[in-house]
Symmetry: C4
Subunit: 192 residues, 4 copies
Amino acid sequence: MGKGRLEAFSDGVIAILITIMVLELKVPHDTTLAALGPLWGVFLSYVLSFVYLGIYWNNHHHMLHTVRHVTGAILWANLHLLFWLSLVPFVTAWMGENHFAALPTAVYGVVLLLAAMSYWILQRCIIRAQGPGSLLQRAVQGDWKGNVSPLLYVVGIGLSFVSPLAAGLVYALVAVIWLVPDRRIERVLHEG
Amino acid sequence: MGKGRLEAFSDGVIAILITIMVLELKVPHDTTLAALGPLWGVFLSYVLSFVYLGIYWNNHHHMLHTVRHVTGAILWANLHLLFWLSLVPFVTAWMGENHFAALPTAVYGVVLLLAAMSYWILQRCIIRAQGPGSLLQRAVQGDWKGNVSPLLYVVGIGLSFVSPLAAGLVYALVAVIWLVPDRRIERVLHEG
Amino acid sequence: MGKGRLEAFSDGVIAILITIMVLELKVPHDTTLAALGPLWGVFLSYVLSFVYLGIYWNNHHHMLHTVRHVTGAILWANLHLLFWLSLVPFVTAWMGENHFAALPTAVYGVVLLLAAMSYWILQRCIIRAQGPGSLLQRAVQGDWKGNVSPLLYVVGIGLSFVSPLAAGLVYALVAVIWLVPDRRIERVLHEG
Amino acid sequence: MGKGRLEAFSDGVIAILITIMVLELKVPHDTTLAALGPLWGVFLSYVLSFVYLGIYWNNHHHMLHTVRHVTGAILWANLHLLFWLSLVPFVTAWMGENHFAALPTAVYGVVLLLAAMSYWILQRCIIRAQGPGSLLQRAVQGDWKGNVSPLLYVVGIGLSFVSPLAAGLVYALVAVIWLVPDRRIERVLHEG
C-alpha cells in the first residue's frame, strides 16, 4: 500500500489548519491604528502556531520519507496526530483572545504536549513496521529534541499559572529548537 | 481514465470536512475551567465524527486501491458519498451543541446511515465496472461489518428517542467495529 | 510545463467551495423538527450547487485529459473559471436563505451563466493551444449541451422575476442535462 | 528530497486562502439590489486579492519548476512566504469593509510588500541552493518586474493617506504588470 494518499491527506489537513487560524483575526470595524491594538494577542499566538504547524508539517515530511509501506497502525497513528493538531486553532484563539491568560496558556501547552506524544507514537509505529535495522530508528537515535520538548512543555504548562509570559517564551523556545530541519534523517537516507 | 484526481478530490473534501468541524468548538470568552464545561458535548461529538471521517477516508483509500478505470457511474457515486459526508459537520454541531438531545442524535444517525448506503452504492458501482472476477467483489465477500452497520444505525436512531446516551454508545460501537482496517482488501490484492 | 499542479490547484479550490457551502447550513438552537423547517431553502440550494460544482469538477477533469502543455492563457482562463465558481457559495446562500426570492434567484443564474462562459473561454484556449487537429476540438464538435445551457440560464434569469420556482426548475434541468458525463471526450481519446 | 509535497502543501494553502476570502462577502438579509450596494468594496478588494493570489500561485509554479532538491532553507522560506500570503484575507476584508479607508488601504500595501520581499527571499534561497550556473539565476536576470513592484507598493502605501483610490489603482497596476506569465523561466528551461 502506497503512502501517497497518506501524505496528501496530511498535507491537506495541515494546510487547512494553518489557514483557518487566520479567521480568528477578526476584522475590526474601526479603521484606526488603535483598532488593531487588541489584536496583538491573537496575532502573536497565530505566529507561534503557524510556526508550530510548519514544524510538524516539515518533520512529518521528513519522517514519511523513510516509509515504504503504510500499515493500519501507521494510518491510525497519523490520524491521531492530526486530531491533536486540529485542536491547535481552538487553543490558539482562546489563548490569543484572552491575551495569554493563565488557563488558556496552560491548555495550549497541553495540546502541544499531546501532539508531541502522538508524533512520538507515530514514530514508534513506523519503526516497528520497518522491523530490525529500521532506517527511522537509526535516524532518531539520540533524539535530544524529541526528549527535551515534552519536558519543556510541562515546564511551560506549570509556568502558565505563575507567569504566562514566561510560559509563552518556553513554547517559543521549543519552536526555535525545532526550526532547524532534522538533518539526521537526510543523512541516514543518504547513507542508506 | 485515471483515478488520481478522484482520490485527490475525495482527500481534499474529507480533509476539509474533518477540519472545519473544529470551527464549531466556539472559543469561550471566559478563561476559567468552567468556561470549557459547556463544550463537552461539542467536543465528544467532534471526536466521534473525526473517527467516522477517518474511517471513511481509510476504507475509501483501501477500496480505491482495487480500481483501475474510473467510470462515470463511479465518479457520481463518489460525489454522492461525499454529499452525505458533507452533512456530518452540520449534524455533529447540532447534536453536540444540544448535548445529545433526542432529535439531533437521531438525525446524526440518519446521516450516518445515508453515508453508509452511499458507500455501499459506490462499492456496487466499482464491482460492476470490474466485471466478473472482480477483485473488490472477492474482497468484500461475507462483509459482516457492512451488513451489521446499517442495522446498528437504525437501532441507534430508534434509541435516540428513548436514551440518546445509549444511541451515542451504539454509534461509537460501530466506529470501534470499523477501526480495524479492512485486511480483506489487502489480502486479496496480495493474492491477485 | 506539466498540468499536475493546475489540476491539483483546481481540485483544491473546487473541493473547498463544495465544502464551505455547508457552513451556511446554520445550526439551529432548537432541537425540534420545526427548527429544521426554515433550513429547507438553504438545503435545496446547497444540493443544487453541490451538483453544479460536481459537474464542473467532472467536466474539468475530462477536458484536462486532452491537455498536454499548459500555456499562460490556459492558466489564467482556468483561474477566471475558478473566480466565478468561487461566487457560487455566496449566491447559493443568498438564494437559499431568502427561500428563492426573485432577485437572488436571478443573480444565482447570472453567476451560473458567467461560469459557463468562462468554461467556454477555457475550452477555446485549450483548443487554440492544441492547434489544428485539436483533440478537444473534435471532442466538443456539435456540443449541444454547451450551446443550450447559456440559453436556459438566460431563460431562468428572466423567469426569476415571474416565478422563482420555475427558474429553479430550469437551473435544475440544466444540471440534469449535464449529469451524464461527456462520453465524447472519452471516445475521441480512445480513438486518438 | 523531492519537491512534490512542497508544491502540494503550497497549492493547498493558496487554494484555501483564495477561497476563504469569499466568506467575507457576507450574505445580505435583504433581497433588493440596494442590499448588494454596500458589498462593492468587499467585492472589489476580493477581485484584486484573487488576482494577486493567482499571480503568486502562477509564479510560484514557474519558479518551483527550476528546483530539483528542496533544502531546509527553501522549506522555511516557502513557509515564510505563505505566512504573509495568509494575512491577505484579513487585510482584504479590512480594506473592503471600510470602502478603501486610508489606514486599511496602506496596511494592505504593507502586506503585499512583505509578501513580495518573502518571495524574493525564497528566490535567493533557491538560487543559492542551485549554486553557480543556477537556472533560476539566469531566468530572473534583469528582473525589472521584481524590482519595480516593491517601489510601487511603497508609492501605494504613501498614497493611501492622500487618495486611497489612487493607492488602489497603483496596487491594480502592479497586478496588471504581473498578469503576463514569466516567460523567461520557460525560455531558460527550454534552453537548459
